[in-house]
Every structure is written in structure tokens, then in C-alpha cells.
């Protein structure tokens, strides 16, 4: 494996079938890697926004349950709505965990693509991260 950056039109990225051997193929691969980096930045923002939405939508029931636990009272009166919202909370959290797995995997894929030491691919990743950050992070501060 070459251990320095090279400009080249040939590369094998991640999978056996993804072998590039022409300028057009390299341009397409750079585009794919760019979109992958954009997606990665978008997922980061999406996860934060989802968590914020969940906390806004389900605070009262969980707070009630926590208060009931700390006061030592049995939550007999609000058992069914708490269990229903608990169920919703578990679904939300399971969805968040799946998004986290996808984020981890995409991050590692981008790392492995850069590890090919192909300069075009590396520039595609950098540009994709920049575009993704530029597009996604303003959405974070929007309510």
C-alpha cells in the first residue's frame, strides 16, 4: 500500500466491486464520497435535532415518573400513560441508536476511503464535509 498521497485515476474503494480505472469513474467516485460526507454531517445534526424534539415532546410524563420515584410513591395513578409514553420513549431511543450505528459506520467508511491515499478522494471528502456542515448546522439552531 502506498503511504503517501497520489493523484491517480485508479483505485479500489472499500469493496471489491468498487474498482475505478478511468477519469469518468474517478469523478463519479469522488461525487459518491462527497455525498457520503454530506450525509455524515447531516446525520450528526439530525440526531441532535431528533433528541431535542423527543425531549420537548415527552418531558412531562418522564418527569412525573421521576418525581414519583424520588418521592417514593407508587405510580399507580399514572401507570398506563407512563407505560405508553415509556413505550414511545423506547421506540425513539431505539431509532436514535440505529441512527448512531449508521453514523459510526459511515464515519468509518469515510476513514477507509481516505486511507486509499488517493488525493481526489481525499479532496472529495473534505469538500463534502464542508458542504455538509454549511448546509446542516444552521438547521441545528432553528427551533
Amino acid at each position: 500500500m502506498a503511504m503517501h498521497f497520489i493523484f491517480s485515476d485508479t483505485a479500489v474503494l472499500l469493496f471489491d466491486f468498487w474498482s475505478v480505472h478511468s477519469p469518468a469513474g474517478m469523478a463519479l467516485s469522488v461525487l459518491v464520497v462527497l455525498l457520503l460526507a454530506v450525509l455524515y454531517e447531516g446525520i450528526k445534526v439530525g440526531k441532535a435535532k431528533l433528541l431535542h424534539q423527543v425531549l420537548v415532546n415527552l418531558p412531562t410524563s418522564i418527569s412525573q415518573q421521576a418525581i414519583a420515584e424520588t418521592d417514593g410513591e407508587s405510580a399507580g395513578s399514572d401507570s398506563s400513560p407512563v407505560s405508553r409514553t415509556h413505550h414511545r420513549w423506547y421506540l425513539y431511543h431505539f431509532g436514535q441508536s440505529l441512527i448512531h450505528v449508521i453514523q459510526v459506520v459511515i464515519g468509518y467508511f469515510i476513514m477507509l476511503a481516505v486511507m486509499s491515499y488517493n488525493t481526489w478522494i481525499f479532496l472529495g471528502v473534505v469538500l463534502g464535509s464542508a458542504v455538509g456542515y454549511y448546509l446542516a448546522y444552521p438547521l441545528l439552531s432553528m427551533a
Binding site: M1, A2, I6, S8, T10, A11, V12, L14, F15, D16, W18, S19, H21, L51, V54, L55, P59, I62, S63, A66, H93, F94, Q96, S97, L98, H100, V101, V104, V105, Y108, M111, L112, M115, S116
Partner: protein, 192 residues
């Protein structure tokens, strides 16, 4: 078609595993010289994903996986390492929140909309530099950095089973540990 050459890697020359990027013909020649003995350190690294458990080098020179049983053990170990990494991240965050000692308020006048002067207040929380919580945070930070690099290197083996173990461990760790974090954040940040 291309998965067979990873089985060949343990027996014959590593030349066949070289990806079809022919920009360094001289290195391929030198690898063919070095590929004579099968126990050398500088094995040709796979550059695409594969599923296999023959002769998989894992991080350290003594750790070589050769059987399915060893691969299963390595899968469990990597899974637990990724879970521990996620838990360490959450634990550091909660430790940091608990050890905030100094809260400083800085107020400064800023010009308002109609020529009025408004007071803008900045709140900063921090730790003492030589306090035990900060030293503990530093030690945990180093452990976190090292484990994150180990996970990256494990993913870099391109072994499908180990990569799945990393991803699944990260997901499970996030699921188990971040649930507690989200509930704690909810309680402490909404005053009621």
C-alpha cells in the same frame, strides 16, 4: 471471485491480493520478494471488505486469528470494547457536569436597538486545573483517545466480522448508556 485470494494470502505470495491500482509497479516487485516467508510482519493489507477468519492479524503481533472459535472470541472482545468506549464517553460527560465548581458571570454593556444600553451576561463554568476531577478527566480522555484509535485500527483490518462487531458494539453501547444520559439531561435542565 475476489474473496478467494484472501485465503491464498496465508499460503502463497501476497501479490495476488494487491488491488488493481498499478501506480507503483516497483512496490509490487518488492512485495513479491518479501512474500516468500509466510510469517513476516509486513503482510499485504487487504483494501476491500472480506469475510474470513484465516490468519487475521489483530492490532498486536501476538494476536493472530486462525480458527472460527478465535474469531468468535475476537468478535465478543471487540463488541465489548466498542460498548465500553460509548460508556466511557457518557461517563466522562456526567463526571464533567458533576464537577463544575466555578461559575463566573461576566456582564458587559452592549448597544441596544434604539440607542439604549443593554447588559449582556456571560456565564462560564469551569474546573480548577490542578484539581482531582480535572486530572481524572485527563486520564479518561487519554484512555478514550487510545480506545478510539484501537477501534479505528480494528476497522482498518477490513475484516467483515470485526467491523460488524465494532458497529454493533457502538450501537448497543449507545443504546444502553445514552438512555440514562437523556433522562438525566431532561430532569436537570427543565426546572419544575
Amino acid at each position: 471471485m475476489d474473496h478467494s485470494h484472501h485465503m491464498e494470502m496465508s499460503y502463497t505470495d501476497p501479490n495476488s491480493t494487491m488491488p488493481p491500482s498499478h501506480h507503483h509497479p516497483t512496490t509490487s516487485a518488492s512485495h513479491s520478494h518479501g512474500g516468500g516467508d509466510s510469517n513476516m510482519m509486513m503482510m499485504m493489507m487487504p483494501m476491500t471488505f472480506y469475510f474470513g477468519f484465516e490468519n487475521v492479524q489483530l492490532l498486536f503481533s501476538g494476536l493472530v486469528i486462525n480458527t472460527a472459535g478465535e474469531m468468535a472470541g475476537a468478535f465478543v472482545a471487540v463488541f465489548l470494547l466498542a460498548m465500553f468506549y460509548e460508556g466511557l464517553k457518557i461517563a466522562r460527560e456526567s463526571l464533567l457536569r458533576k464537577s463544575q465548581v466555578s461559575i463566573r458571570y461576566n456582564s458587559m454593556p452592549v448597544p441596544g436597538p434604539n440607542g439604549t444600553i443593554l447588559m449582556e451576561t456571560h456565564k462560564t463554568v469551569g474546573q480548577q486545573m490542578l484539581s482531582f476531577p480535572h486530572l481524572l478527566q485527563t486520564v479518561l480522555h487519554i484512555i478514550q483517545v487510545v480506545i478510539s484509535y484501537f477501534l479505528m485500527l480494528i476497522f482498518m483490518t477490513y475484516n467483515g466480522y470485526l467491523c460488524i462487531a465494532v458497529a454493533a458494539g457502538a450501537g448497543t453501547g449507545y443504546f444502553l448508556f445514552s438512555w440514562k444520559k437523556a433522562v438525566v439531561v431532561d430532569i436537570t435542565e427543565h426546572c419544575h
